[in-house]
Symmetry: C2
Subunit: 319 residues, 2 copies
């Protein structure tokens, strides 16, 4: 890697959709990227999309204590500007059936990430948290919302990660917590926007989880990263800063998304089946809305609506 | 044990001050108590104070997955009314120096407690959380306070425990979370009220951590358990109910407590030394105040002040 005039960052979960896009953006912005992943989603494809220059890849399970030292010994001579922690279990439904998956992949990966930063004396930590921490809420959720009562193991382990990170503030001086909505893009590795195109391609019947009235905010990965990189560059007075990074609208329903798929992709023969229940699965938050006034104040540009993100994504997906 | 006309409960951390007192109260109230502890604080003494009848003791490290099944197989035929989870690391200062202690003893013990309840189909979970979850706050803290940003590993792992418990609501229908202030009594096993009498007895110089101006709410274990057992009997509409269980005053300073020790115990020759720093240790919350209006509404009786609890405790301590 070319170390001249370049800054170094670590990205965990680098083979995911958000991680691989973030890596490319940071490489374009003159950073050397050290990426960690464990390829549980067979996401070698996304890894291949990351620029070859100024990128080093480490295949590492961050939920194991021993890997803290193994990784440390490989990169201990390098000074890092920041640590971007995106690694987590991303199959929320599976994690709701087996909490050990969330314990390991969502919480312990954060716990040992903090340990890595402490050993390397990395002073800036960017954590990708989730709207799932809030559980079921009524009004537009502010970052100061309490009490925090998640309904999924995934949400719980994101809360646990935020809390442990908060207690590490004496070692890590600058902590940014991004609470994300449903993030989408053509490279999604799991979930609704991954399953539907696959089923349409195979001419399968599409079984929708839930009654289709679930209504959630969506954001395209391009918009998300544009906002986050803007937030990253600001100097803050406080040690820890939390941001709901999403549109401020009340979201878009599953039914509406399917109709957009049908009209934009001119789908004719695919059959969509719905269930008679409100939530897609146990632990699914069927409806929520972000109050995003904090990011609106910081990022002076227009934040696209959920529908704009969905339309952009559908257009980008190749059937 | 006599199972006729008795109800069964499990108490973890039963050999601690709160646990052993709770066990005796529940036994007096006609319960069979199944107590779990790991005796890390050499607290055999408190175990001996628990009534012999209607009490079964299990020496078990709850931070280990294998012990879920070991315990389950011993008591699987019994129906339990509730699970009282008090086990945690209680040396907060030590846990701030080594987060693995808090990970295991404060969080994983909660994680596997939830697993035990799910296996045994226990429908009521009483969790002893802490004011430490709130971190540094300015005003009187309500249960709805947010964001939750603890400054100690102990606080972080209590947050993690609350969050995981919250996500278990589909299996455990009735969850009570008690957020405690500094709880004291003649049987404390660690901390300020344990160290000071020991040092006075040995005629040691007493080195106070911090400048003595730390000001926190205190509650005597007798008062605490009276309130908690009252809250326990109420029927709630919601799945999860959280209570700040403490006095609503702004606490009592360390200096004031020492003066009360000196005057009530007629101490003459002991020298007290203070440090020049605000916090006792890294992670110590030097000042906080509870908003306790929620328990005031439920418990119609008078809630003693911090000073009343401190005076009662000092009077009960034998020097």
């Amino acid at each position: 890697m070319n170390h001249i005039n370049k800054k170094n960052v670590i990205i965990t979960g680098v083979a995911g959709m958000i991680g691989s896009n973030l890596a490319n953006r940071l490489i374009t912005n003159n950073y050397n990227v050290y990426g960690i992943d464990y390829l549980e989603f067979n996401s070698q494809n996304l890894l291949k999309k990351i620029a070859k220059h100024n990128f080093s890849y480490f295949n590492l399970d961050l939920s194991l204590e021993k890997n803290v030292n193994i990784f440390y010994n490989k990169i201990k001579k390098i000074h890092f500007e920041s640590y971007w922690h995106l690694a987590a279990n991303s199959d929320i439904q599976k994690g709701s059936e087996n909490s050990n998956i969330e314990l390991r992949n969502t919480f312990l990966s954060s716990y040992y990430s903090v340990k890595i930063c402490e050993k390397l004396n990395i002073q800036k930590f960017c954590f990708f948290s989730s709207s799932a921490i809030y559980g079921e809420t009524r009004n537009k959720i502010k970052e100061t919302h309490g009490p925090i009562l998640p309904i999924s193991n995934y949400g719980a382990m994101k809360v646990a990660s935020e809390a442990f990170l908060s207690s590490a503030r004496f070692q890590i001086k600058d902590i940014l917590i991004f609470r994300l909505p449903n993030v989408i893009g053509p490279d999604v590795t799991h979930g609704f926007f991954y399953d539907i195109p696959n089923k349409i391609r195979r001419n399968d019947i599409v079984q929708i989880l839930g009654n289709g009235l679930q209504k959630k905010p969506f954001m395209h990965v391009d918009h998300l990263l544009k906002i986050i990189l803007k937030i990253y560059k600001i100097k803050y007075l406080k040690n820890i800063n939390i941001f709901n990074v999403g549109p401020g609208d009340s979201g878009i329903t599953v039914k509406k998304i399917i109709n957009l798929f049908i009209s934009l992709k001119k789908i004719k023969n695919t059959k969509f089946l719905f269930q008679h229940k409100k939530n897609g699965w146990q632990g699914d938050v069927a409806k929520y809305k972000f109050n995003n006034s904090k990011i609106l104040k910081l990022c002076k540009f227009n934040i696209p609506s959920s529908e704009e993100s969905v339309v952009k994504t559908i257009k980008e997906i190749k059937l």
